[in-house]
């Protein structure tokens, strides 16, 4: 067993894991941070997307021990300090960018990753950036629209409520 420490959503945590313990397992099973989901076993669906040292990573394809000493951000730490939804989360609600909610944490984290490097993405840039995040409910229309809105762009011309 290996001892690891890391900062998760700004809070120091430590734990003991096997080599094979995946980061997502550490988050969900040891820390009970169940907002990060597992939707596949081939590193494709992106439901488990989190940020490790500020960049998007699929936590199902990284060993927890590899995150020793890292700074981790998950969906549970995305709200504003006053507890309100952050601008990406709020845009997802405003534009109905989620239905069953299962892929949503990964989508929000992927969107945050995009916007920190590309503050005003085009539709194509958003769609390409979501290549590793699968949603089965929305047909992506409102997700793309929400991310455009979160970046401050006018989305009124994009069809639908």
């Amino acid at each position: 067993m290996l001892n690891i420490t890391m900062k998760i959503n700004g809070k120091a945590v430590s734990g003991t894991v096997e080599g094979r313990t995946l980061l997502v397992e550490f988050l969900r099973n040891d820390l009970h941070l169940t907002g990060t989901h597992v939707g596949c076993d081939t590193s494709q669906c992106g439901a488990c997307t989190i940020h490790v040292n500020g960049i998007a990573v699929k936590s199902c394809s990284m060993f927890a021990v590899e995150a020793d000493g890292a700074s981790i951000d998950t969906i549970e730490g995305q709200e504003n300090t006053d507890g309100s939804l952050n601008k990406i989360q709020q845009a997802f609600q405003d534009h109905h960018g989620l239905q069953c909610g299962f892929c949503t944490p990964g989508m929000v984290m992927a969107a945050a990753d995009l916007l920190q490097n590309t503050p005003t993405p085009t539709e194509a840039e958003i769609r390409n950036h979501l290549d590793g995040n699968i949603c089965r409910c929305t047909g992506y229309h409102n997700i793309v629209k929400a991310i455009m809105a979160a970046s401050g762009q006018d989305v009124s011309a994009i069809a639908a409520e």
Binding site: H37, G39, Q44, T74, G101, P105, I126, N128, G139, A159
Partner: protein, 789 residues
């Protein structure tokens, strides 16, 4: 002034907050004290005789608590088919037993023959590897035609691979045959409706708990219909008294049909929890989901359209083989029959329709209802053959459809396929479509595409579907073994806020937001004071859950009826409070008043009186303000729509790009336009997925080739465009109180033929006129092969 709440508005979804902050509670998020873990041993051959399963080594592995094999369930019931279909000769369908764990034979790759319960998942996995299964591999039965020809049987005891040979309507067969024989023009098309894997992003999971003291079971499971699951487990499989099993479906991450059904894993964890007196948890990996979730579609069809030279339809005749897989899943027999054959008249005044469906057992995973369920198959066959016919007769595809549409003044209309359509206006839908889509500019856009070396195609489609299943009396005659009503309880609490317990289950559809809009409109109270309770058999009335676009049309109607009862009783209480006659009480905007006076009491005051019944007419009225209604619809509902899309085809690579997609639907009245639009978006996404990307493929040995996201192409954001969606054409449903029809499946029904019609159109514009059809998915490789064939 536009309304700002209630019916017809789009409040933000209240459930979004918990999903957006990581506070959703899905089945795998639930962990019970002392829980153990189940892992299944699954067949890696498609067909095999089980000689012996040796668990002796596995039993002694660290952490192992119990191991089950098929023998442990040999004496309990099977998981039943929910619908009896009779063959054309009157013989009932063949119903081989579907056991909890495979017994005697394994019948598809992934068929579970044993289960290990251990302290941890990893220990259970290790023990599964230590099970020695002596299984003699048998030749796999994969191809439907070969299966029908015989040679080997998936189920030896029935001595055939044909489940049934169904004719609809059998009495119309001779007339249809004669009409086709005599017709001036017949268009024939052979096609495959490709097999799909539903792929809800949350894989299936079940956790069972057993209380030794009370004998009560609790099952947390990913279900679209907890009461139906309870009924199947109790009445058919394990024999647990219904009142000793509580089924909880918490947040469910998508269903699309695949979570309607009861699966063996649920029975296994229940039996294991009792044996061990400990909670037992199982969560499917995505690989297990691919192998064991009920798949969708998988029809091989020949359709003929007979018409006059001017395009007036005379007859549709359809011959279909429908794969049901290795076992009959709960709705697998109704999906290719009554949910498919009854729609084979489309939106048209065609006088002759006949459908023959042979259901075939194969060594593949069970096939059942998947978003649309039978209706996408019907629409695809019809609208592809109509498109081909238009090309053969050199008729405009819209004009050909319009020529044959049922006209608004013909409703109610008895279709030649046996349904009575209550309302619709198909010409209005096309009027709207022609208003939205710039058809006039298509030529210029095509020319622009050609400059870039691309071929551009325009696809048109029309659909009708039957939703809101269903009248119990009717479906009972047709073979259903359950009723198809739904139920709601409206509980007004003493402080005036309201809990609404519904039989419907939301797994993305937004019930928590929409149902309060209805109740708020009726009671004149704030939407936010109304909470929806669902997904727990210990809290909700006996409802049948959500599938077939039925939540609002059926359960929503039950909500209306229960709320009406609330108003009735509250009016009586108000009359007493106001010392007036009940008939003089008006109820408006949340206030009861005596007509012609300024005397009134607010709804909240009445609620308080009901629960603090001092000065109360106890001889006439019971205290409390809580009402339940069961609603059984009088008919199906019939959403319809007109769709158009434009695609670009790269003739060098065969790649198809969807350039635009427009969906105009008639859903009747719309309660929440935002959510309805979202439902259509999702359906279109799945429909384009079926048309262009998704392909569940077994090889000749019954090995699933598309067994992960590495080979099963899920639609991603970059595969899809923005859609234009309109639902302003409204012909209200005539027989439910809200006038609603249902919107959940429309996009998945209407979009596949729209896309394929457009691709064929594009190829024709490039001179590839030998291409009259390409089977879905219209992948780059298939398009290129078609061009170069």
């Amino acid at each position: 002034m536009p309304k700002d709440s209630g019916i017809g508005t789009s409040p933000k979804r209240r459930e979004d907050i918990r999903f957006l902050t990581g506070n959703g509670k899905y089945t795998d998020d639930i962990n019970l004290t002392g829980q153990s873990h189940a892992v299944f041993a699954r067949s890696d051959v498609a067909h095999g005789k089980i000689n012996h399963i040796d668990i002796s080594a596995a039993e002694t592995m660290p952490g192992v608590l119990a191991i089950f094999t098929g023998e442990d369930f040999a004496d309990v019931g099977g998981n039943p088919a929910g619908w009896l279909i009779n063959s054309r000769d009157g013989e009932p369908m063949k119903e081989p037993k579907r056991p909890v764990l495979a017994y005697g034979k394994v019948r598809h790759v992934g068929d579970a023959y044993a289960a290990v319960i251990a302290e941890t998942v990893l220990q259970a996995q290790d023990a599964v590897e230590a099970i020695k299964a002596d299984i003699t591999e048998l030749p796999a039965i994969v191809d439907m035609e070969a299966a029908l020809a015989g040679g080997g049987f998936v189920h030896d005891e029935i001595e055939t691979n044909q489940c049934f040979d169904w004719g609809w309507i059998e009495d119309n067969r001779a007339a249809t045959d004669a009409a086709i024989k005599a017709a001036p023009h017949v268009t024939t098309l052979s096609l495959v409706n490709n097999r799909l894997v539903p792929n809800a992003m949350e894989s299936r999971a079940s956790t069972a708990d057993y209380d030794r003291g009370t004998g009560d079971y609790t099952l947390y499971t990913t279900s679209q219909n907890p009461h139906l699951t309870r009924l199947l487990v109790c009445a058919f499989v394990l024999g647990i008294p219904e009142n000793k099993l509580r089924v909880v479906s918490p947040d469910v991450g998508g269903g699309f049909g695949s979570k309607i059904y009861h699966y063996g894993e649920e029975a296994l964890v229940l039996a294991a929890a009792k044996k061990l007196c400990r909670p037992v948890k199982w969560t499917a990996s995505r690989s297990e989901s691919f192998l064991t979730d009920a798949h969708g579609r998988d029809h091989v069809t020949k359709i003929e359209l007979a018409c006059e030279k001017d395009g007036t339809f005379i007859a549709f005749r359809t011959d279909t083989m429908a794969n049901v897989g290795a076992y009959l899943s709960n709705f697998s027999t109704v999906t290719p029959t009554f949910l498919h054959g009854t729609l084979m008249a489309g939106n048209y005044t065609v006088p002759n329709v006949y459908v023959n469906v042979k259901a075939v057992f194969t060594n593949t995973a069970p096939v059942d209802a998947y978003r649309g369920a039978g209706r996408p198959e019907a629409t695809y066959s019809l609208e592809r053959v109509i498109d081909k016919c238009a090309r053969e007769l050199a008729l405009d595809p819209i004009e050909l459809r319009r020529k044959n549409f049922i006209k608004p003044d013909q409703f109610p209309y008895a279709s030649a396929a046996g349904l009575e359509y209550d309302a619709g206006n198909y010409d209005a839908l096309f009027d709207k479509l022609e208003g939205i889509v710039d058809f006039g500019g298509f030529k210029a856009r095509r020319a622009e595409s050609e400059k870039g070396g691309k071929l551009r195609g325009l696809g048109i489609n029309s659909y009708i579907e039957a939703c809101g299943i269903a009248p119990s009396n009717l479906v009972g005659i047709l073979g259903a073994r359950v009723g198809l009503y739904d139920a709601a309880t409206v509980r007004v609490n003493a402080t005036g806020n309201i809990s609404v317990m519904v039989g419907a289950h939301s797994h993305g559809q937004g019930h928590a937001t929409v149902f309060p809009q209805v109740v708020s409109e009726m009671l004149g109270v704030e939407e936010n004071s109304i909470e929806i309770v669902h997904g727990d058999t210990s809290k909700i009335p006996f409802g049948m859950g959500s599938y077939g676009s039925r939540s609002l049309a059926v359960c929503g109607s039950a909500v209306v009826r229960a709320t009406e009862k609330i108003i009735n009783k509250a009016t009586k209480i108000a009359a007493h409070m106001l010392e007036a006659s009940e008939s003089d009480i008006d109820f408006k905007d949340g206030k009861f008043s005596v007509s012609g006076t300024d005397k009134s009491v607010a709804f909240g005051e009445v609620a308080f009186k009901a629960y603090v019944p001092h000065d109360y007419p106890h001889d006439e009225l019971e205290p409390g303000l809580e009402e339940t209604a069961f609603y059984d619809p009088a008919n199906f509902t019939y959403p319809s729509g007109a769709y158009a899309c434009e695609v670009e085809v790269d003739p060098e690579t065969g790649k198809v790009t969807v350039e635009s997609f427009t969906a105009v639907d008639d859903f009747g009245n719309v309660i929440n336009p935002m959510i309805v639009t979202g439902q259509v978006h999702g359906g279109i996404g799945q429909g384009i997925g079926q048309a262009l990307l998704e392909n569940c493929t077994y090889d000749e040995n019954g090995q699933l080739l598309s067994a992960s996201y590495m080979d099963y192409a899920m639609p991603r954001a970059s595969d899809l465009p923005f859609y234009t969606v309109d639902h302003s054409c409204v012909t209200p449903c005539t027989h439910n109180p809200l006038g609603v029809k249902g919107c959940g499946e429309a996009g998945a029904i209407g979009s596949p033929p729209t896309i394929v019609n457009a691709v064929v159109d594009a190829l024709h514009s490039g001179g590839h006129t030998h291409v009259t059809h390409i089977d879905m998915p219209v992948s780059p490789a298939r398009v290129w092969s078609a061009i170069n064939s």
